[in-house]
Amino acid sequence: MAKGKVTFEDIDTTVNVPAGTRLIEVSEKVGAGIIYGCREGDCGTCMMHVVEGWNNLSEPSVLEQKVLKENMAGRHDRLACQAQVIGDCVVKPT
């Protein structure tokens, strides 16, 4: 099975995960500092910054892009409850 390494920069921890895993599933279990609100891509609370491996996360949907815009997301910010891991990446809370 394809795997990806997700590094949470704030807690200096890397997790090996199966490809397709949503960031939210990993970050909560490992105790990283990304926080969550609605968990369904609507509120923008779980916005995180992708430090490396932007292309190793699933493409943001039109709806996610809209929520990111409304919440004044910076370049390379994503919603952790929507982004799925497809390769190695490094993330941190915004």
Partner: protein, 427 residues
């Protein structure tokens, strides 16, 4: 109470600065606002009308059931076709209730809301299936009424993501939304005329603004440089006498009271516990001993049995990390723990470190339940909590000591990092 001005009874607008009118509504019989707030003499829904040489602006509306008062006051000083600008500083229903009808009546008006208000506007208009055009604005954007200019200030999270303030430049009037507001109903309208509303002002801050202190400070940074002749909030008295006093009070209420009592490079860790037979208490003491070995951590240890909820809430607000110890009784953490953990909605706990521990008889669910609650409160739970079956042995107390030390190292950023784990190994 003195008789209200005649204009209030007759549904007239009240002009309180040249061309600036109060067109709100009074709700003196309300005793509970939004489930959470007591209102000992009701509240007011303040809305404002500004007349410029090239049109009229309305800033905020009222709760839907008070629309009649609002429209009567509006009509007493302007006609609907004169209304060019409608500003909503905050979309909560007590301020947006009359908006759909106002938009219908004022066909020439353009609606201005903050960037973050769009999804809320759509959700509020959902029942009627209506859509209105709107313009989103942020700090620095202005709208001209000819000889009057409205300048927008982006002040999010006071107390919703959408909130903003609007500043009438030529007259130094700040339409502040819920900021500087209070639930206080007094027909005399102005802070130099109404009764003693200090309690209502502080109570409102404590329940509405307190969770957003950091955002309050950011807002104050852009409000304080303004020339302020008056502050016109959406609830309670219009602050025309020494308005800066209220700005200074907000700064005081939003500043840390712990700062200066412990040094800037120290982190505060509070350990709360309850214990039936002394077992969880012994664990708490061992964890405290372990944490104290780490330099830069100030540990406080409290038995929940010996305190009230309110002062503990105040302590939690300024703590950097919290540990809760609870025995498990009938598959649950004990009530005093939940009482405290359910009283924290007035605080911002985001990013504080949390953890749990406890002794149990046979199943020991309490620790995991407390950890889940802390995650739900947006705290970070970096370590799996310690559970001990009944009486802790010396070895188990040593585990508690290590847990305390590791937790304190995490708190001070000294815990060994660079860890690599497999998803399947995470609990």
């Amino acid at each position: 109470m003195a008789e209200p001005p005649a204009a209030l009874n007759s549904g007239h607008a009240i002009e309180f600065a040249p061309g600036v009118h109060w067109i709100g509504a009074l709700d003196p019989t309300l005793r509970t606002f939004d489930i959470i707030l007591k209102t000992a003499n009701g509240t007011s829904y303040n809305a404002y009308l500004i007349r410029g040489s090239e049109g009229v602006a309305i800033v905020d509306t009222v709760k839907a059931s008070f629309s009649e008062d609002f429209f009567a006051r509006l009509e007493s000083v302007a006609s609907y076709d004169e209304v060019k600008v409608i500003v909503l500083n905050h979309l909560e229903p007590d301020h947006s209730g009359a908006l759909p009808e106002l938009m219908r009546r004022a066909p020439n008006a353009k609606l201005y809301i903050s960037t973050r208000a769009t999804s809320m506007l759509k959700a509020l208009l959902k029942p009627d299936g209506e859509r209105f055009d709107y313009t989103t604005v942020g700090t620095g954007d202005t709208v001209s009424l000819g000889d009057r200019t409205l300048r927008f200030l982006h002040t999010p999270f006071l107390h919703w993501p959408d909130t903003q303030c609007t500043y009438l430049e030529e007259q130094g009037v700040l339409f502040s939304g819920d900021v500087f507001g209070c639930h206080y109903c007094d027909a005399r309208l102005f802070n130099d005329k109404v009764g003693d509303f200090r309690f209502s002002f502080d109570y409102y801050y404590a329940h509405i603004m307190r969770p957003f202190k950091q955002w309050v400070l950011e807002a104050l940074a852009i409000i304080e440089p303004l020339k302020l002749n008056m502050i016109a909030p959406t609830h309670g008295p219009i602050l025309r006498d020494r308005p800066r006093r209220y700005v200074a009070h907000y700064r005081e209420l939003s500043s840390s009271s712990l700062a200066g009592r412990i040094s800037d490079d120290e982190r505060s860790l509070i350990i709360f516990y309850m214990s039936s037979y002394g077992n969880t208490a012994r664990m708490a003491e061992a964890i405290a001993t372990g944490a104290e070995q780490v330099e830069g951590v100030r540990v406080s240890l409290y038995d929940l049995e010996g305190g009230e909820v309110e002062p503990f809430v105040d302590l939690i607000e300024e703590a950097d990390a919290l540990l809760f110890g609870s025995p498990t009784i009938n598959g649950d953490a004990v009530k005093p723990v939940w009482d405290l953990l359910s009283s924290l909605a007035v605080l911002n706990l985001v990013g504080k470190l949390g953890g749990a521990f406890g002794s149990y008889g046979w199943s020991g669910e309490a620790v995991r339940m407390i950890e889940d609650r802390m995650r739900g409160l947006k705290m970070r739970v970096p370590l799996k909590g310690v559970r001990v079956k009944l009486i802790p042995s010396d070895e188990e107390l040593a585990v508690c000591d290590t847990f305390g030390r590791e937790f304190a190292l995490e708190l001070t950023g000294q815990r060994a990092g660079g860890k690599v784990v497999d998803m399947a190994d995470l609990a």
